[in-house]
Symmetry: C3
Subunit: 355 residues, 3 copies
């Protein structure tokens, strides 16, 4: 790969392990940042996520059996509690200190299960992503789906700080030709990158033809917020040109927050869990499904392109890719990720693989 | 892989190429220890196994044609006899000394075809595995099936010198919870490793509920014999507690020998041909099929676990696996195999791959 | 691989990109010598073939949209004309010099589209393969099909300068046992290798049983011409023994030119586009289809063998393959290819892959 950081993730960060609805009493295997994990809900309702590898013969614990809040390995019965501590070894009394599995810090909020992949001492639940609109009666939140992409997470994230692509990739839903040449602004001052533009006095895009009931032209905005490392908030909406909306008055239009939580599985596989919040059609669950349907069209268009790029990056590259004016957001994003990874590596003790 | 000897097999050993019924006049390709072979029965009934590679353009001879006891290559007609000697090269009269294929030492016994994979001069048919019970009228022998596992042969063999796993892996057939904490004894003095234990005064396991007609509790034994490198004999059985059986009196109970002949195909693929001998229901062929059905359930449970371990071993290992008290048999087994391989390597002339 | 030049092709050569009928207004992706290409017909009927990789984010241009003779990338709208020049970058006015894709030299002749894969300055259309019979009223040309082989092109080409294999590989169509031991002559003096033999006074092969209406024995010839690097002409035919044909009188018999245009896709994949010219049954289109059917049988026999060899070559080789008297043509061919590749490498500036 020419442009991705190989074998490298930001570990000291909260990632989304899944929607709350994905976790129950069953032992569920999942992979995040190439680490095999097993998840289940305990009797008190909390979610436990452990290393999915018995330290004895490496059998995934998810192949074993749940007994109360413990997991018993399916091969020789070694048993671990929800904190990863070994509580039984059949056939022997002493339990060596090496008999444990890693347990991860977990926090559930807004019906989303977050997992901390790095140094447990640095896990701070106050840094978990949130939006005030989750708690507002003026907004409706709706969980969509999980898009599985055979694509590097940096390429997926780059697409989420890139308002320019919608004109060409999503011509029937999220973009149209009116925006093709409108320049993109980028703000990089805070911890959150923002790439944005307004398209003034133009026909509504497919999404707002369906949900805006607009007659005539509209002013349309796209703000792509990227929270390090892997959460994107796309604030987009429209208002009648007659409303002469200021940039700060977006709540007066039909406004949507499309959220994307990226979970890197490995260097060629990313899960994008997407949902939306909206300030219109609040109690209309049909609108939720209809919006999902349009998002699904658009995100599958992204998937086709991103997976083709992943394949193309595997080929030998005779020339360096070029960067364009619209790439400021993606370029700053990649630099920040590289810097976060560099910081983690330089502050860590060396790890040796066991051959 | 963390715990397997990479790219390494014991060559100076008899392996099972197949049941006798697997060989006929057809040219049959097979792979043993990563070597491509072609097998067929000659006119005199003997089995010939040759290197499956024409020395000219490398076409597998199994793609060619059998002519009497010879094989004619399907590309240009080079013809080899059952001893690997080239007997014809169309279009030329002289046959160079390099025009041959390797022929393997073969011996057929107890309806099993054995192949010697190493130095032909060391092949001694008197070292081929046998049991006196094959020739006894008090015993019935029945060939089961071939289990194909995507698993390293050392992991499969380890499972066959490990009585402890049956309590957790085979709870409905070969084990039950009564044996969970019963310690395992291991004898390592002879050429054959033995790991064994008795479970006294406990309910019969599924197998003997079906075949023992026991009322009440039984004494049950499991003796796992491992003959280097790849043959396992599992002697297990049960008798009523009232019989007060000594360890040496196992023939007085219902006694089964489950035989496993492991044939490593490559480092991630092993064939386990299994069969049994029994001292009960001697003439009841229905019993053979019923036992096969129970074995099939159990061995598929092993397969699921062993294949999951093979996958797990491919991941990077941050911590060394731990060993437990029950692991003495497997650990001695691995050390002996490593030692046999080391002996072969140090006694051989260096081999150079042709680039 | 033991006998192939690894990662090496002759670049300064015309290859067949496809039959003329394979190209139309659609953007068609294809791969030649491991290079991803996109092909389409322009408004003036000419075929354009470009590098299939947007220099911005590497998306294949074949995923984009054709606009007149230009291609617009499907991700951000960068647009290239049929000569590879970038003519638009949405959102910015300046077009940097690095914004281009490679355009290949193309020439269409005899309903075949040829592509030059090397240094554009060395492309000379006068060196493109031709036969006078294409323009002759005494001959009929018929395009057959494209055979896709999972095989190295050197192995496929070797098969096409090898008259000896037909006796064993194609016993029902292009060979029979009469030719098994007939020696092969090879002429290597010109740029074109020729391997040939006559089989005099023998029963006709399957092909001429069907198309020759011969009674009794025939004289049969096979001349395998190999034009460097990847074009083969197989001149074969038969005449009644009574005609006492000289070698130079082949036009008096039923004579067929089977043409094979090899297009290496990568080291394990070759496309063989095959067609024939004939001097008999000139206006009988049924004959074309019937000949195709026989060729299809024969070429699938080659495919099975060549793909098995490709698999065999991937295994470690403990002994060097041997060469036979019939191998002179293939051996000279391989040496010439190696020499052409060596010449290209030594005359080129070093290329560095971009990591």
């Amino acid at each position: 790969m020419s442009s991705n950081n190989q074998n490298a993730y930001v570990y000291n960060a909260w990632y989304v392990a899944g929607w709350s609805s994905e976790f129950n009493e069953e032992l569920t295997p999942l992979v995040i940042l190439e680490q095999a994990l097993v998840a289940y809900r305990c009797a008190d309702g909390s979610v436990a996520i452990l290393e999915d590898r018995c330290p004895h013969r490496l059998l995934p614990l998810s192949k074993g059996q749940r007994i109360d809040d413990n997991i018993r390995c399916g091969y020789h019965g070694m048993t671990f509690n929800e904190r990863g501590k070994c509580v039984r070894i059949p056939g022997q009394d002493n339990i060596p200190s090496s008999a444990y599995v890693r347990a991860y810090s977990i926090h559930e909020k807004n019906n989303i299960v977050f997992i901390w992949m790095g140094d447990p001492e640095k896990a701070d639940i106050h840094t978990i992503f949130d939006l005030p609109q989750f708690a507002s009666d003026d907004w409706h939140a709706h969980q969509g789906d999980a898009l599985h992409l055979q694509s590097h997470y940096l390429n997926v994230a780059e697409n989420l700080v890139d308002p320019a692509h919608v004109s060409f990739v999503h011509p029937t839903t999220l973009g149209n030709s009116a925006s093709e040449d409108v320049p993109v602004h980028v703000d990089v001052d805070s911890d959150v990158l923002v790439a944005w533009r307004w398209i003034r006095d133009a026909p509504p895009i497919g999404f707002f033809q369906k949900f805006g009931e607009f007659e005539g032209n509209v002013d349309r905005w796209h703000y792509y917020y990227l929270h390090m490392p892997c959460t994107a908030v796309i604030d987009f909406g429209s208002a009648s040109v007659d409303a002469k909306l200021e940039e700060s008055e977006r709540d007066k239009g039909v406004r949507i927050f499309a959220l994307h939580f990226l979970t890197p599985v490995n260097e060629h596989y990313t899960i994008d869990r997407w949902m939306h919040l909206r300030n219109a059609a609040l109690d209309d669950e049909q609108a939720s499904d209809q919006m999902d349907a349009m998002f699904r069209i658009a995100f599958n268009e992204d998937k086709e392109i991103l997976e083709a790029i992943d394949e193309a990056e595997k080929r030998p590259q005779l020339r360096k890719p070029i960067r364009l004016a619209i790439d400021k957001g993606p370029m700053v994003y990649r630099r920040r990720i590289a810097s976060l990874i560099e910081d983690e590596i330089s502050s860590e003790e060396p790890t040796t693989l066991v051959g």
